[in-house]
Amino acid sequence: MDAEIKASAPGLGGRNWLRLGSMREAGLIAIMLALCVAMTFASPHFLTWGNFRAMLMSFSIEGIVVVGMTILLIVGGIDLSVGSVVCFSMVVSGALFLMGLDPWTASLIGIGASALIGAAMGFFVTVIGLNHFITSLAAMVIVRGLCLVITKGTPLSLFTLPPGFKAIGQGSFGNVPYVIVIFVVVVAIFDFLLRRATAFRKVFYTGSNEKAAQFSGIKTKQVKFWVTVLCSTLAGFAGVIYMSRFGAATPTFGAGMELNIIAAAVIGGASLNGGSGTIFGAILGMALLSVVTSSLILLDVSVYWQDMIKGCILLAAVSIDHFLHSRKS
C-alpha cells in the first residue's frame, strides 16, 4: 500500500522538476493554496507580508532541522534527539561564550559538539547494531541531561552577545530577515543535492534496500553514519541560530520538537520505512503545520479548541494528499 507513494519520489529527475502535476508535492501544494485562499477571506490580516514574514520566521529555524530529519528518514533512520541537540548546541555555545570565547568560535564548537553527538549515535547504530529509534531515544535523554549539567538548570542569559552575532537571528536585509535567507539557502542547497548529488543517491539506495545497496558496493554503514552526523549537525546549526535570535540558552528548549519535525517530514511524503522523501515536501509539511497554527490564532479560536482543530486539519491534509496521490497512480 505504501509502494505507490514511494514509487514516484526518488525517480524524479531534473526534467520532472517543472512538471507540477506529476510531482509528489502537488497535492500538498493544492491543500496549502486552498487553506490560504480560505484564510484570505476569513481574515483581512492573513494576506500581508507581515503575516507571511511572521509565519516564515516561526518555522524557518525548525525548517533547518527538518532538512536533516528528512534525509535521515530517507536512509531508514529516525532521530528523536534533535530537540535535545538543538538545545545542546545553544547551551554549549552559550556557556563557552560566557567563559570568554568569541561567539563565532563558540558556535562552531557548539555545532561540532552536536556533530559528535551524531557521530556517537552513528557509532551505536552502525557498529554496535542498535536501531535508530532506541539509540536516538537514549541520546535524547542523555543530551537533555548534558544540557542540565552544563547550565545547572538555569537559562544562560547571553545578553552581551555582540550585535554582529545577534544580527544572524535578529537582523534583516530590508524587509527580509537573515533567518529566512539562511533557511531558504539551506533548503535550496539540500533539496538540490538530494535530487542531484551522487552521494545523496546512495542515501536513497541504502534506505530503499540496504542489502541491494551493499551488493552494489555501497558502504551502507558509512552512508548511515554520515547521514546521522549530518542530521545532528544541522540541528546544532539550528541551535546556534536560535541562540542568536533569543540571546539565551535555556536547558528546556526544544523539548517535544522532534515529533513536530517528524510529522512535517511525513506529511511531506517521507516514508518511515526509508527510501523516499523530499526536502521540498517536508518543508511544505512544516509550512502547513505553521499556517494552521497561526490561522487558529488569527481567527481567535479558543485555546481549548485549538489543539483539536489543528489535529483534525493535519489528519484531513494527510488523508486528502494520500487520496489524491493514490488515485493518480
Partner: protein
C-alpha cells in the same frame, strides 16, 4: 537545652516535579538553610520529568525512607491525596507549597497568592497603558497555578479597567518557540496590541523576542524570573514580572514541617489533645511576592546569590 534542635538522623525532604529547573532552587536553598540552623538533614528529590505519576513514585520512595517531613509541590492536587494521607498515617509530616492538595491530610499549605499576582500584574500593565488598549494572554492550560494567574489577570482587567480589551488567547505551553510564533501571529491579527501576559518565564523569552521584532510596542508581563528575564527587564525589553517570594516559601515551609513534627513542644489551650489534631498545624501561609522591575532586578540573580552566600544550591 535549646528545644529547636533536630534529633540525629532527623531528615526533611523537599519533593517536586521537573526538578532540574531553577524555580525550585531558591526555595530549597532557604529550606536547607533553615534545616541547617536546626541541625537537621535536608534532601532535594523529585523527577526531572513533568509527570505526576513519576513524581508520586519519587514521593513514595522518599516516604519509604521514613523522613520526619516532606515539603511537596503536588503537580496535581487530587492524585496526591492518597500518598500524602499515607505519609501522615506513617508519621511523616507533609506541607504543600506553591500548589496544594486541599483534600488531603497535609498539615499546611504555603504559597504566594496567585490571584494577587495576576491582579497586580493587570494593574501594572493597565496603568502603563493609561487604562486603555488591547492585550492578549499566553496560556498553559491545565496547570493550576498558571490558570489562576491568567484568570485573575483577565478578571481584574474586566472589573477595574473596562477599556482594556482582551483580543487574543493562545497556548504557548511553556515553550519559547510556540510563544514566539503566537506573539507574532497575535501582532498580525491585532496591530494595536499593547500588552501580553503569561504566567511563567519559559514562554517569555520567545514572547519578548517577538515583541522586540514587532517594534517594541507590546509590553511583556509575566510571572517568575530567571537570569535572561532579568537581563531583558533591565534592558527594557520586558515590562516586568511578579515573582513569588521563593525564599520565604522554603524557609517557612521548613518551619511548618518542623513545627508539625514537634507538637509536643506546646500545650495549647484547646482541644488538640482530645481530638488528636496537630496543635502545631498552621493551615495556610502566604509567603508574598515581589515585583521585579529594572530598578531591583539585580537582586534576583541566582548565580550571584550562590556566589555571595558561598553555597552549592541543591547539591547539598
Amino acid at each position: 537545652a535549646n528545644p529547636f534542635k533536630c534529633e540525629p538522623g532527623e531528615k526533611y525532604v523537599m519533593n517536586v516535579m521537573v526538578s532540574g529547573v531553577e524555580y525550585w532552587f531558591p526555595v530549597y536553598e532557604m529550606f536547607k538553610q533553615a534545616g541547617q540552623q536546626f541541625g537537621c538533614e535536608t534532601e532535594y528529590t523529585g523527577t526531572p520529568e513533568y509527570d505526576v505519576n513519576k513524581q508520586i513514585a519519587t514521593f513514595d520512595q522518599a516516604l519509604a525512607q521514613k523522613p520526619a517531613g516532606i515539603l511537596v509541590h503536588p503537580m496535581n492536587s487530587d492524585p496526591f491525596i492518597e500518598p500524602i494521607n499515607r505519609a501522615i498515617d506513617q508519621g511523616t509530616a507533609v506541607v504543600t507549597f506553591a500548589a496544594d492538595s486541599p483534600n488531603s491530610k497535609r498539615v499546611s499549605y504555603i504559597t504566594s497568592d496567585n490571584v494577587a499576582e495576576g491582579t497586580y500584574a493587570a494593574d501594572a500593565v493597565a496603568k502603563a497603558m493609561d487604562g486603555k488598549g488591547e492585550y492578549a494572554v499566553l496560556e498553559n492550560p491545565g496547570q493550576d497555578n498558571h490558570d489562576k494567574r491568567i484568570a485573575a489577570f483577565i478578571g481584574r482587567m474586566e472589573a477595574k479597567w473596562p477599556e482594556m480589551k482582551l483580543v487574543g488567547r493562545a497556548a504557548s505551553n511553556q515553550d519559547a518557540t510556540k510563544a514566539y510564533q503566537a506573539v507574532l501571529s497575535l501582532a498580525q491579527a491585532h496591530p494595536e496590541l499593547g500588552a501580553v501576559f503569561m504566567p511563567e518565564a519559559n514562554s517569555a523569552i520567545g514572547a519578548a523576542q517577538a515583541a522586540k521584532e514587532g517594534g517594541g510596542k507590546i509590553r511583556v508581563m509575566l510571572a517568575d524570573v530567571n537570569a535572561k528575564i532579568l537581563d531583558m527587564i533591565k534592558a527594557g525589553e520586558i515590562f516586568g514580572s511578579v515573582n513569588p517570594n521563593q525564599g520565604m516559601q522554603g524557609y517557612m515551609g521548613f518551619m511548618l514541617l518542623w513545627l508539625a513534627k514537634h507538637p509536643e513542644l506546646i500545650d495549647p489551650m484547646n482541644d488538640a489533645r482530645r481530638s488528636g489534631f496537630n496543635g502545631m498545624g498552621v493551615p495556610f501561609v502566604d509567603n508574598g511576592f515581589s515585583i521585579v522591575t529594572a530598578e531591583n532586578a539585580d537582586d534576583f540573580y541566582w548565580d550571584a546569590y550562590l556566589k555571595r552566600r558561598g553555597t552549592k544550591g541543591i547539591e547539598e
